[in-house]
């Protein structure tokens, strides 16, 4: 999100603070779930950053007595196109817009700035019902020990068309982490209940999470071909595309190895379930 604001405002990412999770600041944030953060928050941050930029240009145009169209934002300053020595910093503009500022009392003609928020802007976006789904391919290479039912995922590849990767390394990390999470659900994690409805896997001693020791080599391929039409950034949500394909890919690979998918329809695919599917036991 800082990167989105940085790219609009030309301010170094290190100087941008993102404050999470404070409903005192933003009552209608909604939260980070359902692969929505880049799409929703990214879009909102971009819209708010553009509004801040436009506001700054309007103030600068008044102050410098030039037309807005001749100004541009570069290096954290509003500059006159063709004569960058004529400029005014965003900090100066923010101070000018500060309520109670003497410069505002003897104002540049900022009659077109209707609010009293200073150099700030709020933007809301509405969810777009389509166009943020990621296209992805999951490939799993597995070995099945047919005598014990133990599955070993030897290699994994996930390729995803994310529209626009705001930060490719983050997208890659999210995909790899998502695959590990998916492997947990496919091979290990189970909410098991006894006949009285008592949860039997209520601690991490029994509810088995995957760790780095259980992760195969995973390759994530990030593709940016099909931009999302639903938001100006062209981004799509990548939170769920990592985990969601794993069970199908791994179970299909196991079925391929065994030559049948019969009885391979309960997750997680524990050694015992796989050996039962293989059959031939006593």
């Amino acid at each position: 999100l800082a990167q989105v604001a940085s790219s609009v405002l030309g301010i170094p990412i290190e100087r941008i603070k993102v404050r999470h999770g404070d409903t005192g600041l933003i009552p209608f944030g909604g939260g980070s779930y359902a692969s929505r953060t880049a799409v929703m928050s990214g879009h909102a941050v971009q819209a708010a950053a553009v509004a801040v930029r436009d506001k700054a240009i309007r103030v600068a145009a008044d102050k410098l007595e030039v037309s807005e169209g001749d100004l541009r934002l570069a290096n954290g300053r509003i500059e006159l196109a063709g004569a960058p020595e004529v400029n005014i910093s965003l900090g100066t503009i923010a101070r000018m817009l500060m309520p109670g500022n003497p410069e505002l009392l003897a104002p540049p003609k900022v009659a077109n700035i209707a609010d009293n928020e200073g150099l700030a802007a709020t933007a809301y976006v509405r969810a777009v019902p389509s166009g943020t789904s990621v296209f992805a391919v999951h490939l799993a290479d597995v070995a099945v020990d047919t005598e014990t039912g133990k599955i070993t995922v030897e290699r994994y590849l996930v390729a995803a068309d994310v529209g626009c990767a705001i930060n490719p390394r983050i997208v890659e990390g999210q995909l790899v982490g998502g695959v590990v999470m998916g492997l947990g659900g496919t091979l290990l994690e189970e909410l098991a209940y006894d006949p009285d409805g008592q949860l039997q896997t209520g601690s991490f001693a029994d509810y088995l999470l995957p760790s780095v020791h259980d992760a195969p080599p995973i390759r994530a391929v990030v593709i940016e071909k099909a931009r999302s039409p639903g938001n100006p950034l062209g981004v799509k949500g990548v939170g769920e595309v990592g985990p969601s394909g794993v069970a199908a890919a791994v179970a299909n690979a196991v079925a391929n190895a065994l030559g049948t998918s019969r009885d391979l329809n309960v997750l997680p695919l524990t050694p015992e379930r796989v050996l039962d599917a293989i059959g031939g036991g006593a």
Binding site: T148, Q200, T201, A205, L208, P271, E272, L275, A282
Partner: protein, 289 residues
Amino acid sequence: MRPVPFDYCVARTVDDAIERLAQGGEEARPLAGGQSLVPMLAFRIARPSVLVDLNHIDALAGISVTGGELRIGAMTRQAQALNAPLVARHAPLLAQALREVGHPPTRARGTIGGSLAHADPAAELPAVMVALDARLVVRNAAGERMVSAADFFHDAFETAIRPGELLTEIRIPLENVGGSAFQEISHRKGDFGIVSVAACVTTGANQRCTRAALVFGGVASTPVRCREVESRLVGRELSARTIAAALDAIPGDRFELDSRNASRRYRLRVAPVLARRALSAAASGARPA
């Protein structure tokens, strides 16, 4: 969760530890590496009155060969034993099994004696010690006594150690070095085995087997040694056919564990598979190069 409140003291010598354990009575517990005990405290499964910390008693840690035995101090860290040349030479089975015990961080703290005294039915080291005919040194205020590994494990989490006593050393005879192997199936790398098996064999003239040991962990409340399988191997050449035939004698009636983690039926089914793999690997290790 937070543990139930308990007292804590640091023992400086073995005698000091034994005295403090005796004072603490039935609910006093020694603290070794803490890799099982500390989570049990957090779950409130363990509610000791006092913990006697053994981590500052240097005399309890160390590996040596003395009197025809490999001697391992009870507080020797698993990682230290795993990497010790003396263990590699005289008890390779222990090193093979230790690779399956937890992860490097848990092995850096976890101790050999702690794992044995804890006596988790699914743990690896009890089966190893039974397979190696190890003797365990137990000390109390009156002196020392020796307990064979076969007699040490009484039930799940119960051993021959009585209140006021401390496991101080493990002694492994040197003559049992031959070929060995450890096999286990677990849900994740580093987890306790669903089924684990320790195998070691020695061979003499004409490649004939002179000693065999096959011990399962994770199938009953204590390690299950397969004497009948062993006697079918001794005196024979360890071919695939001999091994397969001997495995019919795995004492399935002694397999008791049946849990959500894995059914008894599953354990019975994979036990011969793991045993065959372990015995085959042990047999090829026993052959002179």
